[in-house]
């Protein structure tokens, strides 16, 4: 993170010196057995923080450890937010965050796992959560809330209800709430506060009048009490106050301000622009030298300063008080406000707090100053993946300021590339290019702070252009720009060269030139590793492995996954981000080899790492491979449901979509004889058997050929078969020319099925033999087994005797009926064994990585096959039949 970590945000705020004990609220918080979330939701000034600190102090939380985080606007960047959450948790346990590694941009899932492994109980408080409006941060928090381990209580204090499924949580008893109505001072509490704490001698009627006017709003009662201290005519004050309908805080702050000596009054007004106060900062802003002393006096007089650290060096004003003070400041000295912010900016800049300095420069309306501060910080912001912060700052500047600064403009492009605003990126790049003159000097009217960054701009622009062109499908354009970029990048710029090499690898892969794609990816991986961008190494490995698979070299794909999986974060020894994707990739290779059990183990390992351990495409990749597991188990509905989920969760990135989910679905349907649906898909996509082959559509065309063969099998229509064979001819020629042996093997298998359907057994055997010659040594099994129904006899003759394929072909399928009842599929056996536990349906679904509906389907099938109609009977009957495998386990 670029800005310093502020320890004051992690302190449990000190309880105020004078306090009304409120055991009724502490007790309610303590009674929250089993509730994952505690929500304290009320407007400012209702004592939310105080209630929490009293509860934590009372020792009745049931948890020894408390992690506290006071949020502010700067936390709307996931990188910043999660850094602080981890820092807060580390104040409690060294073990936390050790496993998260350096990729703080997606920690929630790993955090859940780490918290679950904690020995003791823990309370995590997020105070001032209402400042969070970043949807990325909110999504992460929601994930955390929904998977929170039992020993952790999350407490959110906020002025507005968080975007979480509160109603559902309420219904399930997972939520404990304190709201404004609970937090208001009761008559009794008001009397205690005014009398015992503030030492005011009031009648019961006085207290009732104040309580009625303030409606138990604590901040207002506090202000009223301060106004009454040392006042002779208390009754008169109360009568005036009660009879006035002005905004209560405004009225009272004015009362309090009027009673302050002028130096204190002007101090309060001038320092009201500060979010956090400390002596030297106040001095810098006021031009005086009594900052520390005044703060101390305010603290003792209970004048709305809240200490932020135990040493009472940092304070903030109570929010309401600060707002009203600023209104007075604006009203009385409108011209002074900008200057106060400017001084605060200068102080924070000297202290190295860039975020505060930028915030004050922006508040001062001093946009050039803010831009001057942001520009040199861009490289560090990018390296720490704080693109959200970059975007927020740059969007706070007037557009013309950003546009006049080429380095800032390209920084904005970098931020936009992450959030995927394509049109804006193009427009900005064009805009910047106009500012770059031939002689490498800034064009007139432009502003450059970071000269070094300015000199690198042409190269940076060429890199971003390459990326944009590739995303928009202009492969030749992308390759041309990549060449320019390589010419412009300095030899030692490993990061830039690695990025361009990767883009070139993608471009060539997209056109089907696998050799060139592989070459560039090898170079990219080396450059990125030299640049220390370890997490990008995962992406390079995935691309390399995908290309290797397309080449029909699954062993090399496996080696690429394996190599990347061995690289760990040097600081923590934990796997890289994207490790989950690597496991999914390995599962894919293992499935191709017919080893579903090993594939499942890798999918489980991927799930263990969780979505946060994956790249953006992880959820989709995971669903695709899981669908294949289900298909291999004979669970077609489960596989279709997973493919539907894969389609929902697909996010486009730079990787070419060479195996679209819709095509995978069509292939599955065609295999099930549901050719009508499969051909419907092809029609919808505008695919025709007369199409000329190209790599991006190769897989889809192959699936179309399968659907046509299935149509012939079902209807006997010769035309479908002829169309399929002619399409396969063209696809085969193209795959051969492109060295895409992976595609070629599947094409030949489908060809064999088609030839057999035509009655040409010789041609079928020839095609299959060639497929086996290519595929068997590389370990291909599943592609043949998938066609076992029609090709079993041929396979037995062409597979190498004694080999893996031959053995697999002979093995009976899991769902062949046998014995007194229909045999259960492997998946149904899994479910049956889990029915013999205490797990409920949703738990079983989670355990098997399937939906609850799929579990229901399996359960229905199990009941039908076993001739029972409830869970207990199914387990009993399963036990009788020896299906539970108990002997082996116990």
């Amino acid at each position: 993170m670029v800005q310093p970590l502020l320890a004051t945000k992690l302190h449990v705020p000190k309880r105020r010196r004078a306090l009304v004990p409120r055991p009724r609220l502490s007790e309610r918080l303590s009674r929250a057995d089993g509730a994952a979330l505690t929500l304290v939701s009320a407007p400012a000034g209702f004592g939310k923080t105080t209630v929490l600190t009293e509860w934590l102090d009372s020792g009745s939380t049931g948890a020894g450890a408390v992690a506290w985080l006071s949020l502010d606007e700067g936390d709307n960047d996931p990188a910043v937010f999660w850094t602080y959450v981890l820092a807060a948790l580390r104040t409690v346990s060294d073990a936390i965050g050790a496993d998260v590694g350096s990729s703080v941009d997606a920690v929630p899932t790993r955090l859940v796992n780490e918290l679950a492994a904690l020995p003791g109980e823990l309370v995590l408080v997020l105070d001032d959560y209402h400042v969070v409006d970043s949807s990325e941060v909110r999504d992460g928090v929601q994930l955390l809330v929904e998977h929170l381990p039992a020993q952790v209580r999350l407490v959110i204090a906020t002025r507005t209800d968080p975007v979480l499924p509160l109603a559902r949580m309420r219904g399930r008893g997972e939520l404990v709430e304190l709201r404004a109505a609970d937090l208001r001072f009761t008559d009794e509490e008001a009397a205690t506060y005014l009398g015992e704490v503030m030492g005011l001698d009031l009648t019961g009627d006085d207290v009732a009048a104040l309580e009625a006017r303030t409606e138990g709003w604590i901040a207002a009662l506090q202000l009223a009490a301060l106004s009454m201290q040392d006042r002779d005519d208390v009754a008169g004050f109360i009568a005036n106050f009660a009879g006035d309908d002005r905004y209560i805080v405004d009225y009272l702050v004015e009362e309090v301000l009027q009673r302050q000596p002028e130096p204190v009054r002007s101090f309060l007004l001038q320092t009201s622009v500060l979010g956090r106060l400390t002596g030297p900062l106040c001095d810098a802003v006021t031009g005086r030298d009594d900052g520390a002393a005044v703060l101390d006096a305010l603290d003792r007089g209970n004048l709305f300063v809240v200490p932020l650290d135990t040493r009472r060096r940092w304070y903030r004003y109570h929010h309401l008080f600060a707002d009203v003070l600023q209104v007075h400041l604006l009203d009385e000295q409108p011209g002074a406000v900008a200057d106060l912010h400017r001084r605060a900016c200068a102080w924070h800049e000297r202290e190295g707090d860039l975020a505060e300095a930028v915030a004050h420069a922006l508040a001062a309306g001093d946009h050039d100053r803010a831009a001057d501060l942001i520009e040199p910080a861009l490289p560090a912001l990018q390296q720490h993946r704080q693109e959200a912060t970059m975007r927020r700052w740059l969007e706070a500047l007037p557009d013309e300021v950003v546009r006049a600064r080429p380095v800032l403009s390209v920084g904005y492009v970098a931020a936009l590339m992450v959030s995927g605003d394509a049109a804006e990126v193009d427009e900005r790049l064009r805009d910047v290019e106009r500012l770059l003159t031939a002689d490498d000097a800034p064009a007139p009217g432009t502003v450059v702070v970071d000269e070094e960054a300015f000199r690198r701009l042409p190269a940076a622009i060429a890199v971003y252009r390459t990326g944009r062109l590739l995303l928009s499908g202009d492969v030749p354009g992308a390759i041309a720009h990549a060449r320019t970029a390589l010419d412009l990048l300095r030899p030692e710029d490993h990061q830039g060269r690695g990025a361009v090499a990767g883009l070139l690898g993608l471009a060539h892969w997209t056109t089907g030139d696998l050799d060139a794609g592989l070459r560039w990816w090898t170079e990219a991986a080396a450059a990125l590793e030299s640049a220390g961008f370890r997490s990008d190494v995962t992406g390079a490995a995935l691309a390399t492995a995908d290309i290797r698979s397309a080449q029909g070299r699954p062993g090399q794909a496996m080696a690429a996954y394996d190599r990347a999986l061995r690289i760990v974060d040097p600081g923590t020894g934990t796997p890289l981000r994207g490790a989950a994707d690597l496991h999914v990739g390995m599962a894919g290779v293992l499935l191709e080899r017919g080893d579903a059990a090993a594939a499942r183990r890798h999918l489980a390992a991927a799930d263990e790492l969780g979505e946060a351990g994956g790249l953006p495409q992880f959820p989709y990749r995971r669903c695709v491979e899981l669908a294949r597991v289900h298909e291999a188990d004979g669970d077609v509905d489960g596989a279709l449901a997973l493919l539907a989920e894969a389609e929902r969760r697909y996010v486009a990135d730079y990787f070419p979509e060479v195996r679209p989910v819709a095509a995978l679905r069509a292939r599955l349907l065609a295999r099930q004889g549901r050719w009508g649906e499969a051909l419907g898909w092809a029609r919808e996509r505008g695919l025709s058997p007369a199409d000329e082959p190209d790599y991006l559509h190769e897989f889809a065309h192959l699936c179309l050929a399968r659907a046509l063969v299935a149509r012939h099998a079902a209807t006997g229509e010769q035309q479908a078969l002829l169309d399929a064979v002619s399409l396969l001819d063209r696809l085969t020629a193209a795959a051969e020319a492109g060295g895409r042996t992976g595609s070629l093997i599947e094409l030949l298998v489908v060809r064999a099925v088609a030839e057999q359907a035509r009655g040409d057994t010789g041609a079928a055997a020839a095609a299959l033999r060639r497929a086996v010659d290519l595929g068997e040594p590389a370990g291909y099994v599943q592609v043949f087994l998938d066609e076992r129904r029609s090709l079993a006899a041929l396979l037995a003759t062409v597979a190498t005797p004694g080999g893996v394929l031959a053995a697999q072909v002979r093995r009976p399928t899991a769902d062949v009926p046998g014995g007194p009842v229909d045999a259960l599929t492997a998946r149904e056996l899994d479910v049956l064994r889990l029915l013999d536990t205490d797990l409920d349906g949703p738990d079983i679904a989670r355990r098997l990585f399937v939906s609850v509906n799929t579990v229901r389907t399996h359960t229905k099938n199990i009941y039908a096959k076993l001739g029972v109609n409830n869970r207990r009977a199914a387990v009993r009957r399963g036990d009788e039949l020896g299906l539970l495998g108990r002997a082996g386990e116990r």
């Binding site: 000034g45 709003w217 901040a219």
Partner: protein, 73 residues
Amino acid sequence: MTTYPCCYEVRLDGRLDERWAGWFDGMTVTTDGDGTTTLRGPLVDQAALHGLLRRVHDLGLALVSVTRLDPGH
């Protein structure tokens, strides 16, 4: 969704004096006879409206109503 500037009228419970106009980005502040206050003025978009409402909420002021005024008002 409204993306063009619009005039809004935001009514609050309680009486605010004119001094608050600056705090609410130049909206006019009018106190009504019934103990409510109305902020009135143009806001560039929905984000600005939500920012204004957030300021109202931050002060602990109770919101009574929000009305978009037809052009011509």
